[in-house]
């Protein structure tokens, strides 16, 4: 099937097999390896990307369903220069151990921060309820999201 979509601000027009999932397209065809496949059931959130600005698990979406959409992964965040405050917050709050869940966590955090500039702890918890981490116990990740929100607010203040 022929599909057209934007991935990380770049246009693609390509033929995909109907059985290909979005996670397979992003990782194996386009090489965006920040997108991890964990459970393959939409439970662990490691494959989370933004689709038209919304956090989705790319293992529960067929590639052809992404026709006409805009996809954003951690690589795209980095290219846009939007990764830094979240990345620093995750590093300084020790929110990364094995790192497998981190890209998915960051994309879920990004979806929240795009919607709410000053999230509460409850907001942060709810935003990552679909992302499993087996190392950190979540507390540092929740702190990082709140910290990232402050950093982004500061950056916005400095640049205005």
């Amino acid at each position: 099937m022929q599909i057209r979509l934007m991935v990380n601000d770049r246009r693609y027009s390509l033929g995909v097999d109907p059985s290909l999932r979005l996670v397979d397209l992003l990782r194996d065809v386009l090489g965006f390896t920040s997108v991890k496949e964990g459970c393959s059931e939409g439970e662990c959130g490691a494959c989370t990307v933004l689709m038209d600005g919304k956090a989705v698990t790319s293992c529960t979406i067929m590639a052809f369903q992404a026709d006409g959409s805009e996809i954003l992964t951690v690589e795209g965040l980095e290219n846009r220069g939007e990764l830094e405050p979240i990345e620093k917050a995750f590093i300084e709050n020790d929110a990364v151990q094995c790192g497998f869940c981190t890209p998915g966590m960051i994309m879920s955090a990004k979806a929240l921060l795009d919607k709410k500039r000053k999230p509460t702890e409850e907001d942060a918890k709810r935003a990552i309820e679909g992302n499993l981490c087996r190392c950190t116990g979540y507390v540092p990740i929740i702190k990082s999201i709140l910290d990232a929100a402050e950093r982004m607010e500061e950056d916005a203040g400095t640049s205005s």
């Binding site: 939409g42 293992c59 067929m62 052809f64 679909g130």
Partner: protein, 283 residues
Amino acid sequence: MRARRPRDLSELRKILGSGKPDLKLLAGGTDLVVHLNANPGEDWDLVDLTGIKELKRIAVEGPFLEIGALATFQDLEDSQLVRSKTACLAEAAAMVGSCQIRNRGTLGGNVANGSAAADIPPVLCALDALLVIESRDGNQRTVRAEEANPDDFKSLAARGEFIRKFLVPLEERDLSFFDKVGSRRAVTVSKLNLAFSCKLQGSRIEKPRLFLGALAPWPVRAVEAESLLTSVTSKDLAETSFLDALSKTVEKTIPDRASMPYKRQAVKGLGNHLWANLLEVIR
């Protein structure tokens, strides 16, 4: 595997009119894509509905709140209309899965997938909603949620049909309620759920509609508990007899199921939450 992605209803009708007996409809994919990936040997002929904007409409139409079959759980949670007119539907939607699942999973998919543990069917039953099923020639038939048969959904596309929308009567409801019990607080599949709506006349409960989900293939109406609520004025209402009536419905519905001893207790927890909500408004 074959797949098509119609852009509008007329394209969808054309595909459904092709007379292919193996056509299956794909919506948010949160269950079906997982199944497809786990069973690569299966041959599917898919029709993806997610590209059809007309199926996502949420609007008031005459005496109904009309909700398109492709409205996502997040759409329901975010919709001011859904929140103000049918609070328990917004609450149930907000309790489904995770953010990622709510952003993709749809109302129509939750119903048509036919899972006994689905959260939306009991809510639709409690709200006395209608399912509008459209055929390839544009004709529509309506089915009361309470009377729907989940087996009917399995062959929709093969019969040239699809769920177009849901109609929720806007008649004044004084209370609507949804709660569920699963193995954890969030991102959980219901082991049991309960949806309720009623009108209030002073301290009397009128027209109660109480449905239990994840008990049978389709939600079960808890008639005994309902009649208890209507038979007495609020000051005579006793919580224990109400909870016992709920337990009896569970025992009667699944007498031989291994989960019966658990569910007849679990239903009391849900009943207790509903009871607290009822007391808040009638006393």
